[in-house]
């Protein structure tokens, strides 16, 4: 019994550490913008809060038992009964259950709630059995489909593209754009200004990633970068290409020029943080950057440049390109200097 409790305690600690992913929001530019929107008009921010909630709860709703390495679980001297007890009690450690169960008892009544919880446990057992069968098959890796473009930097661009697709920021931007396109199809009389704002919001959703470009390479991948005979500006450019490609795809149906200008500014400022203050990130989490000063200035300058391109002149895009190239040159030299 003591062994079982020790395992459950360790699982609870692991789940608690996962809950700290909410803390990455405090360093995320898009969350800053949502917070500012909610200060002005709290109802307007609810849609964005729902987006964050959905994207955060999906990984947190996973089976806590997956945190135990299968080999370790097999090695522990647990009886068959203890293993079944562990299997049945572990769903109680899922944060989604903590939120859902009180709501369920209040809304549906005790008999229905107990029935649903029983069904949920049965599903957990079925899923565990399914996973046990599937462990003998090679895991699916859809990001394998991300191609390597030709050229010297092709492999690095492929890797960076895969990494960009494995942070939640990208999916917030994607959901925003999909919602905007759906809204445009449903109501053709969409205000043209809405396209600009949504394009800038998509760029803002990606912008924290622009200041944490090496976050998923830390701690060991960064050593490989240092060993490659490449200049700093080439390494940074290989990081920027997937960012541009994803941003272009997202803003193309909305307002491409303001979105791209904002993206250039985000990268121009982000290079500095990426090179001088690299912060380790985790897959399937929101990117947590340095809100002050980098994130704050990113948000202000991105909005100003994007709005200037949309309302004043497309020449502001040329200024954004010049700023980006200057940053690439300067921060590349800082990288080379070690």
């Amino acid at each position: 019994m003591a062994g079982l409790l020790a395992i459950l305690a360790a699982l609870a600690r692991a789940v608690w550490r996962d809950l700290r992913t909410f803390s990455t929001l405090t360093g995320n530019n898009f969350f800053l913008v949502v917070a500012l929107i909610m200060i002005g008009q709290w109802q307007s921010g609810l849609f964005f809060i729902a987006l964050f909630g959905i994207l955060l709860l999906v990984p947190l709703a996973g089976d806590p038992m997956r945190k135990i390495p299968p080999d370790r679980l097999t090695l522990w001297p647990l009886t068959r009964g203890q293993r079944i007890a562990l299997r049945l009690s572990s769903p109680a450690l899922t944060p989604l259950v903590w939120l859902a169960v009180p709501f369920l008892f209040r809304a549906a009544g005790i008999p229905v709630a107990l029935g649903l919880i029983g069904s949920a446990l049965a599903i957990q057992v079925l899923l565990a059995t399914w996973r046990h069968i599937m462990t003998r098959r090679p895991p699916m890796r859809p990001f394998r489909l991300v191609p390597a473009p030709p050229g010297k930097l092709g492999g690095l661009i492929q890797k960076n593209g895969r990494q960009l697709l494995s942070v939640l920021d990208t999916y917030v931007a994607l959901l925003l754009c999909v919602a905007a396109i759906a809204f445009r199809i449903a109501s053709p009389k969409l205000d043209p200004e809405a396209g600009v704002i949504l394009s800038l919001l998509a760029a803002l959703a990606l912008s924290t990633q622009a200041q944490c470009m090496f976050g998923l390479d830390l701690p060991w991948g960064i050593v490989r970068y240092r060993l490659l005979p490449l200049r700093g500006r080439e390494i940074l450019f290989a990081q920027d290409v997937p960012f541009f490609v994803v941003l272009l795809i997202l803003v193309l149906p909305l307002a491409p020029l303001p979105g791209l200008a904002a993206g250039l500014v985000a990268l121009g400022l982000g290079h500095h943080a990426s090179v001088l203050q690299p912060m380790q990130q985790h897959r399937w989490r929101f990117t947590g950057g340095a809100l002050f000063p980098f994130g704050f200035f990113q948000v202000i300058l991105m909005m100003a440049t994007g709005v200037a391109v949309a309302r004043q002149s497309a020449w502001y895009l040329a200024a954004a390109v010049a700023f980006y190239l200057g940053s690439l040159w300067y921060c590349g030299r800082r990288w080379d200097a070690g």
Partner: protein, 247 residues
């Protein structure tokens, strides 16, 4: 081919490498031995440009490590202590990423990658992502990356640790063969039996200083005896609960 003079690295008050000087000529295989924390990896990092020396000079293939870092990286193949691999790529993709960066064509990269993967028994796992690889596979991938561009100098930080004995022997034979063609090798290892059969020169480092620098053929005793004589073994306290009836 590898030359360093009075190389020193301090971390605050701690001196990790202290006034180290040595040369390894073209085609030489030099083994750097020493206990954990002796300064081997710090020395390797300074020679490969991963860490700036506090003072002193280092040259690799006639290039100044500080002033010509790109030329050093082109000339050297490096197996770092941390391996420096990307979890988001497969073994094969690592090699395909690396080749063009060193100026190899896609066809040449493919050809060399196939041969290296075969030699290192990695063919079956070539499409495995690095986060699913065993430590041995990761080590062999990093070694393949070090060899792919046909370097003139090799820096290998513990190349045999975590590798199965058959592959370790293959690597040893490979290193002997390429050294005979003029490639200079500096390696660190704790596996004295392999070092004994491979290196033509032994450097022992302890507390950041070189305490022995000798041709392997001129060692007064066996390598193991020399090493244990130079590196004080820590005293082991008895752990009375081990082996007792107490569970």
């Amino acid at each position: 081919m590898i030359s360093c003079r009075y190389l020193t690295r301090r971390f605050g008050d701690f001196v990790a490498v202290d006034n180290v000087s040595f040369d390894v000529p073209s085609g030489g295989i030099c083994a750097l031995l020493g206990p954990n924390g002796a300064g081997k990896s710090t020395l390797m990092k300074m020679l490969t440009g991963l860490l700036a020396p506090t003072s002193g000079d280092a040259f690799v293939a006639e290039h100044d490590v500080r002033k010509e870092p790109l030329a050093v990286k082109h000339a050297a193949g490096i197996l770092p202590e941390s391996l420096g691999l990307f979890d988001a790529l497969t073994i094969d993709e690592h090699l395909r990423l690396s080749g063009p960066i060193y100026g190899l064509s896609a066809a040449e990269t493919r050809h060399r990658a196939d041969q290296l993967l075969h030699a290192l028994s990695l063919e079956e796992g070539r499409d495995t992502f690095l986060d699913q690889c065993s430590q041995g596979m990761r080590k062999k991938t990093a070694l393949a990356l070090a060899l792919l561009h046909n370097p003139r100098v090799l820096f290998l930080d513990e190349p045999f640790e975590g590798v199965d004995p058959v592959t370790a022997d293959t690597i040893r034979n490979l290193l002997v063969a390429i050294a005979a063609r003029g490639v200079t090798i500096l390696l660190s290892s704790h596996i004295l039996s392999i070092v004994n059969r491979l290196a033509d020169r032994i450097l022992v480092i302890r507390g950041g200083r070189i305490v022995m620098d000798s041709p392997a053929s001129e060692l007064p005793q066996s390598l193991e005896e020399v090493y244990f004589g130079l590196v004080e073994a820590s005293t082991v306290d008895d752990l009375p609960w081990l082996g007792s009836s107490q569970s």
